[in-house]
Assembly symmetry: C2
Homo-oligomer: 150 residues x 2
Amino acid sequence: MRRIAQPELDQIGRGCLAFQMRSLSRAISAIYDAALSEAGLKTTQFSVLVAVANRGAVRPGELARSLRMDESTLSRNVERMCARRWLRVEPGSDRRSRRIAITTNGIDLIRAAYPAWRRVQDQVANRLGSDGIAALKLLAQRLRHPVSNE
Amino acid sequence: MRRIAQPELDQIGRGCLAFQMRSLSRAISAIYDAALSEAGLKTTQFSVLVAVANRGAVRPGELARSLRMDESTLSRNVERMCARRWLRVEPGSDRRSRRIAITTNGIDLIRAAYPAWRRVQDQVANRLGSDGIAALKLLAQRLRHPVSNE
DNA sequence: ATACAATTATTGTATATACAAGATTTTAAA
DNA sequence: TTTAAAATCTTGTATATACAATAATTGTAT
């Protein structure tokens, strides 16, 4: 088994694309979480809340696909948000499926959190610049649609 | 309190920069985790392992800063990795500080995981393209160093 | 009709993450 | 030197995340 040289190790550490992306995610999430904390919720919760408000009563699986989130992850998130009366789960058309709906409390919470979200969104957008925003879009596209010729 | 219109809601959902970044992080982490699972570790663990191997015995706080990770987060990660005998915590110069070191097992694990990491790194790099990689770098720079004129 | 496959969602278990609150130890100030 | 402040880590608590396993229901093939 070959030895891994020191310069190579350094390249691995700083060069790992997953690490870089996770690092960015942590950084940006911290900024948003700090801004949204005054409204008493987290970034992910805000996203889920808005998604449900946007789509009306929606099946868990469908919502998870839409948010590109694992079903079980969403399930746990919804669980917490139901406990807080921001969401509500109703029986679905099928007896195995369900429908997630937003409550009046949830709608109020979106309204209450919106100013803080707007501020931080503008602030971060400024910080990233238009090319930064474009960079984000590019990455999303590349990760969603793999290049065909390989 | 103003009502938030439907089109605006849609913009909030898909436009939230934190949400986009988290989504990317989930996507890329899933790819790396799948590749590294054959070696029995996760992306973050690999990063921490390599960082420690790279820097030699290092203080927790220093390592956390270097990885841009919360100290408590790192502490918990190290805890798990010590339980697996990949890392070891030694007394530091100070009686309040400590030094994290990699074990022989840890070094072996890096060697064992390296081929899988190399493969997935190349695969994702291909998928992102050189401009994708550049985009990632740009974002990191913008998030680390805020634009001065605002 | 019955047995098997597919759909839909939740639970078990484990890692990742971070804020706030300790617990120790050093340093600095009075 | 006694005491307050700073430094350094870990722990308490909560959320985020996902893979594998389970549970329940519906659809299908024989």
